[in-house]
Structures are given as C-alpha cells and as structure tokens.
C-alpha cells in the first residue's frame, strides 16, 4: 500500500486551486456554478469508468503506487481524484482562454 499516486494527485489539485485563486479561473469566478460543473463532470466520468470496467475494457493495474482502497469493483479511490483533477484542469484552461473577455465584462459591470 502506497500513497504515492494519491499524493501526486492531491499536490496537482492544490496547484489547480492556487492558479484558480490567483487568476480567477473557475471557483474564484463563480463558486456556485463551478461546484455544479465539477461535481457533474466527476460523476459523468465515473459513470463512464464504471461502464468500461463492467464491460471489461479496462481494469486496475498491478502497481505498488496505489492505496488499494476501492470505491467500486476495480475502481480505485485515486480515480475520483484523477477525474477531479481532469475536470479542474479543463476548466482552468477554459477560464484562462476566456479571461480577457471576462475581465472586460467585469470592468464594465463595475464601472
């Protein structure tokens, strides 16, 4: 049992939060909407995973880097964190590429 992969994911998610806070990309732009999008995204990809696992397409590999804690058959705890990171990363990128327009709109609203 190892926390290596889980720790790497937690550090990466922390990085996403720091960038979000600094540049107002996702939760720091609209926390309520971000929470809905993130939860919906993670649930959507978990469902996708579950179908893939039940159909036998992919499964947990033999690795010393995971805790071994499962949240479902062949579904490691780490996958929930991985999907959270994927969704957060996606929306931070989208936030970064829409940032100029968002800043302009906000400046207009505050003027």
């Amino acid at each position: 049992m190892s926390f290596g992969y889980l720790a790497a994911l937690a550090i990466s998610i922390t990085g996403m939060v720091v960038l979000d806070a600094r540049f107002h990309l996702f939760f720091w732009r609209d926390a309520r909407r971000a929470a809905i999008v993130l939860v919906a995204g993670v649930l959507f990809f978990l469902a996708w995973d579950v179908v893939g696992i039940t159909q036998g397409v992919f499964f947990r590999g033999e690795t010393p880097f995971m805790t071994g804690v499962l949240v479902g058959p062949e579904l490691p705890l780490e996958e929930v964190f991985f999907l959270t990171l994927l969704c957060y990363l996606t929306m931070n990128f989208y936030g970064a590429f829409t940032r100029r327009a968002w800043l302009a709109r906000r400046a207009e609203a505050e003027a």
Binding site: Y5, W28, F44, G52, F58, E62, T90
Partner: protein, 140 residues
Amino acid sequence: MTYWLINAVFLGIVAVVAIASLASRRSPRWRAVGLAAIPLLLMTAVFDNIMIGVGLVAYDPTLISGVFIGIAPIEDFTYAVAAVVLLPALWTLLPPSRTSSPRTSSSSSSSRRAHSPHDSPRKGVESGQVDGKRDGGAAW
C-alpha cells in the same frame, strides 16, 4: 462492448449538452474550447503514457482498437475531448450567480468604506484607494 462503442454513447451525451447550449444561445466560446483542447490532449498523451507505464491501469487488448499514442490507447483521448466540450458547455448553460464568489482583493468593500463616517479623518488615504481600485482591476 468495445471501448469505442462505450465512448460513442458518452460522446452522445456530450453532444446533447453542446447542442442544448447552442440552441439556448448560451454556448461556450468555441475558440477558447479549441485552445484549451491543445494542452489538454498533450498532457493526456504524456500522463496517460506514464500512468499505463507504471501499471496504474491496464486494458483488454481484444476490446480496444489497437491504435496507440505511445502505449496509450487512442480511445483514452476521448475523455479529454469530452471534458473540454462538456464542462464549458455546462458552465455557460448554467445561469451566472448574482454575487460572484470568493474575491481576494475587495475593491467594492473598500469603496463602500470610503462613505463610512469612521473613515472621514483619513480622507486623503481613501481617495488614494479609489484610484488604486482601477489599477488593481487592470492588474488581474
């Protein structure tokens, strides 16, 4: 059921949400979606190869297409494509909150403070803050 067949089903759901955002004239900025897709796909290529390489996940070779980017099945990239369309479409479909979220610098509260009677002795400082507000906004 092959990996591609499963992906087709979930991409169908993504398409429904994307079409809903188009139909309601609340679609995301597609240019930003396209730009975000580039680093996401590159990072998927790098990290998926690492994850498979160290044995975090394995695949049934009879259920995947056999097309790989390195050792990553091409089907895995569907997750990144789905994320970059689905999540921004959901984001723009949802109505914006009236009060937007945690803010580090509270420019609005400092301008409100300027009208507070307690602050009148520091009038010069307050007017400096009001000027600073504009600069602070532009710096973000």
